[in-house]
Symmetry: C2
Subunit: 196 residues, 2 copies
DNA sequence: TTGGATATATTAACAGTGTTAATTATATTA
DNA sequence: TAATATAATTAACACTGTTAATATATCCAA
């Protein structure tokens, strides 16, 4: 019965949409089983007919947000840039996305995952998201002999960790306090890593 | 009445000690008002006679753990080292401390704080902890003209964010999976930042 | 179209969380 | 010792996630 599957997917979609709205709006703290179900127009227990548990549902949203983040980055950057400068622009947009949606940052990096092994692939795509957004540009840099493959791998890791740390302190600890200071710090650190 | 204050401080200490044990042992997830009170030998409501709320109590532990972390670092590093190499050794010990006590990492960097302004100073000391552990060595590097003050500030920020990111991914996302890979990555990144 | 089977949705319940108010027990002081 | 002040406890409330039992649709054959 394909009809059943369509309907089932549709209802799953309602729950996912409700969860995404809550995450983008009020943030992770207001994402509860009852809140989600209310917004989706179902009882709280109905959720368990479509998802193993709450964490499962929450993590389903990750993939959608990754796509959205990629679109956001494309929209914030110009296609006539290349190499190092483009990488900087992409990372800046990437950072901007999470500052705009702190709830999504929490979901991607802070949210505890009970069974980490079952969500391994999702976690890996989060881990490598910044890398993959810059994929063509790293390739460009290597092709143009701006850097070696080995160097690019080292730089990727550095940016990955540096940016995660910057966002962690700013979003979760309001450190630095002012947004402009955060932007400047991010800029300085990116330049430090990429301009040699 | 000084007697009262001594007694009051003593009981506060019992709650703090219980919380610290839970944090170091089972981690943040098992730190609840009722768990703490049980371990301290009081009823759960008694806690509210000595602390404003649960978060308050949990954050009181931060200062103790900072002292412990500093002692751990002193113990893990030799006093006959100086400058860049000593900084590397200190940061390695700092990282090791949080890997050993993931619950303390959660408390320092992940735990949500409702009223961040009232805990501003605590949060700042967390933010600058890695810097302060290396205080003498940064001064040494500047005095020996190994780097300028401005360069050292930039390096401090870089290490701060890089290390936070590394720990965040490893402790919270098991990324990389194997401890040895994490150690190697940390080593590589530290060398990259500090060896120029 | 109706009756029975199946699938889906809902309510009730449990064990947990933080927090507050009312109550009980303890200590201090007149 | 009696009255008062202080401290500790229990009861209660509003939440949380999750499961089992119940109610309500849906579907398919007679």
């Amino acid at each position: 019965m394909v009809k059943k599957e369509i309907q089932e997917q549709r209802i799953r979609g309602y729950f996912i949409e409700a969860t995404k709205e809550l995450l983008k709006g009020e943030g992770l703290k207001s994402v509860s089983v009852r809140n989600i179900a209310d917004r989706a127009g179902y009882s709280y227990a109905t959720l368990y007919n479509y998802f193993n548990d709450a964490k499962d549902l929450i993590f389903v949203c990750v993939k959608d947000f990754q796509v959205e983040c990629a679109a956001f980055v494309r929209n914030e950057t110009t296609p006539d840039m290349h190499g190092i400068e483009k990488i900087k622009a992409i990372i800046n947009a990437y950072v901007k996305y999470f500052v705009q949606y702190p709830g999504i940052f929490e979901l991607f990096f802070l949210e505890k995952v009970a069974d980490i092994s079952s969500k391994q692939s999702t976690i890996e795509t989060i881990y490598y998201l910044a890398d993959s957004l810059c994929y063509e540009e790293w390739a460009y840099c290597i092709a143009e002999k701006i850097m070696t493959k080995k160097e690019s791998d080292s730089l990727k890791a550095q940016i990955r960790n540096e940016v995660a740390g910057l966002l962690l302190f700013y979003i979760n600890r309001r450190q630095p306090e002012k947004y402009q200071d955060f932007v400047n710090l991010t800029q300085n650190q990116l330049n430090r890593i990429l301009d040699r």
